[in-house]
Amino acid sequence: MRAIVLLALAACAGSCGTGGERGVDEGGVVHLVGWVTGPEPSAFARKTNLIEGARRLNRELAESGDPRRVAIDVDFNTTSHDPYVKKLVFAFASGRGPDIACGGHEIVGQFAPPGYLVPLDDYLAARPAFKSDFFPVLWAAMSWRGVVYAVPQDNEVRLAYIGKKPLRALGWSDAEIDGLSDSVERGELSLDDMAELVDKAVASGAVKAERGLYHRNRSGFDWLEFLLAYGARLEDPGSGRLVLSRRATLATLRLFDRLVAHRAMPPGMTSYTERTIYQNFVDGEVLIWLTGGSWHKLEFQGAFDISDAEFRDRIAYFPIPSGRRGQPPVSVSHPFGCAVAATAPDRELAFRVIERAIDPDLDVGHAIKSSHLVVRKSSSESGPYQADPFLRDMIDLLRFTHFAPNHAKLTRLQRILFDGIRGVEVGVLSPEEALDFVVRVCQARMGEDLVIED
């Protein structure tokens, strides 16, 4: 018992500290704190790149005779993105926020409005070559009200994965399977066509009932893909308000209603755990994993011990088809970026750490290790990056990609939409009732920030 008490007191002595230093110390070293998030361990380079960026900056400062130096402490978050944002909210509010905050681009929409982040346009204007080396659309994703607040860190692409084993059981040849994605890209396959394919798979016994299609079990950006596929817009550029399209929402709700009604998908889809979903898909028991992302390849491989060759043998992929034939497919990207906090002790140096941390070689290294996409044109031409066929395919899909608008209430809208979909799937609401529910709750909870149009 005494030992326990002593141990506890010793822990106290250690735990009562407040963590890393901040600010400028007597030696002129600027201490910075950075927060990055994985959450998966394969994305650890987000942290090491920042540290390496600081090191390179110090070399640069030394070479140019600048007496300043930086020292950086980076925290790598391992929870999913929502808790991470919550942590940031509390941290910023208490004045203990990081000096460099990295995360999904929505942190711009969340933390720029109250003034927690520093506008970066001036720094970028002084570095035109740097700025133009990035894929231009990414800057839009990092902006709020036209002002850039974050430097892109990496990118991803959302797409659907399809199991080759059930396809082969359906009688597809390897050539047909390989041509699927191209077919979707040419607009030959619509969402309804995809649903029919799933129906056929279930009917023929290639997959068991309710194993035709799986989707994710929580709210998120993926659901916006369907609104886009049915032709909606998400943001009103003039007012900066979010937009909800009745037509597209109803079409989306009808799609999932149909899938459940035809027993292609289980009604309790949203109660499934990730492990169940992925395990069944990777084992070839499910035809389509609908709301996937470019990072899932690595995740499947890591969780279920699959080599690249096995992956290619078992799984194919395609972008989300449009709602109508002849229209291009859609994808939503969720790029990550790094922002500078308003409370940083030296804003310019913080920016320069980020600048160095996204040097092309670091960009490529992180992308390959974590199966993400690079953000710089010069990086995308690198040998190792081009050599990975999967990543090449992903870059190819970028031309269909949209970005979710940067708005503080976007997650709320996503959640309401997701609730509607859930209601339809478990059979509590018809699609029309669900649309009514979504509209009414949006009106009650989104207020002025949302425009509802047909």
Partner: protein
């Protein structure tokens, strides 16, 4: 009546009172203030009068949330927290203490298990595909796969919470049973009373008071608990298991609408306080006569 020097009882009560005032009352008062604002994640306080208090009435799901809360509290309380609690206490004291103690230890484990792990354990049991234990058993018996989590979310929520909640009742009732004078038990046996008669006339009356206390306390606990429901069903699949504290969590913490959350919680606190006072009256906690041992009467 001026208090010229601190009385002993005040000194003894003071530290506890100070802590409660600082870290319980003060936040509650702050909460009250927040209810009149529309504070969000920026922590800017903007007074808006009763606007936040009235908003729940405009929310289409609010009525359902209230109904869910009532059903949840009543069901879990009577079935699990009190019902199973009593059952466990009575049964485990009827068998040799080693075995009884082992069962009690088992039922205390859920309380000691981190909630995320506990819920994952239930997910393992209830997995709707072939990997779930329930489905494996059902399959062995020739049945189909069940998806209890989405088809019977209420059942799952009540069982899940109840297995945790039953342990408090179990502990308290067991202690009360164990303190029944052994002579009473012996006398009942010698008189030839059957086990059931013994339980009815000796054991159960001894836990009448603890049952009332546990009922009161756990009503309030259940009214304000949401963690397990959040992890298991997140109020779903479609608001079937959305209870008021979870609703507050979704609106206050998830959507960062602190002012609105504070307003909702005022409602919750009011309900809880009302119930507590009703229990207080009905169970007569306060008026069972001053015990003879009260020694100092301060005028």
């Amino acid at each position: 009546m001026a208090i010229s020097r601190p009385r002993p009882w005040m000194i003894l009560l003071a530290p506890a009172a100070l802590l409660i005032v600082l870290f319980y009352l003060l936040p509650a008062v702050v909460n009250l203030a927040l209810a009149f604002s529309d504070m969000d994640y920026t922590f800017d306080f903007r007074f808006v009068g009763g606007e936040s208090l009235v908003r729940p009435l405009a929310d289409p799901m609010f009525g359902r949330v209230l109904r869910n809360t009532a059903v949840y509290v009543v069901t879990t309380l009577t079935l699990m927290n009190v019902g199973v609690g009593v059952l466990l206490a009575v049964l485990t004291t009827e068998i040799p203490d080693r075995v009884g103690g082992a069962f009690r230890m088992l039922w205390l484990l859920p309380r000691a298990t981190p909630s995320v792990v506990y819920v994952l354990m239930w997910f393992f049991l209830l997995d709707p595909t072939d990997y779930g234990l329930v489905n494996k058993v059902a399959g062995a018996l020739g049945g189909e796969n069940y998806d209890l989590l989405s088809q019977r979310p209420w059942l799952v929520v009540v069982l899940l919470n109840g297995c945790v909640g039953a342990s408090m009742g179990m502990v308290i009732f067991t202690a009360a049973i164990k303190s029944i004078p052994p002579q009473l038990m012996m006398a009942a046996r010698v008189d030839g009373a059957s086990a059931w008669q013994r339980i009815r006339h000796v054991t159960l009356p001894s836990i009448a008071w603890p049952i009332m206390f546990v009922t009161t306390y756990q009503t309030l606990s259940l009214l304000t608990s949401y963690e397990y429901i959040l992890l298991a069903t997140d109020g779903g699949p479609f608001y079937q298991t959305e209870v008021l504290p979870l609703y507050i969590f979704h609106n206050a913490i998830n959507d960062f609408e602190f002012g609105y959350g504070a307003a909702l919680s005022i409602g919750l606190m009011a309900i809880g306080t009302l119930l507590a006072l009703i229990y207080w009256r009905v169970f007569r906690f306060g008026g069972r006569g001053a015990a003879a041992q009260r020694i100092e009467v301060e005028s």
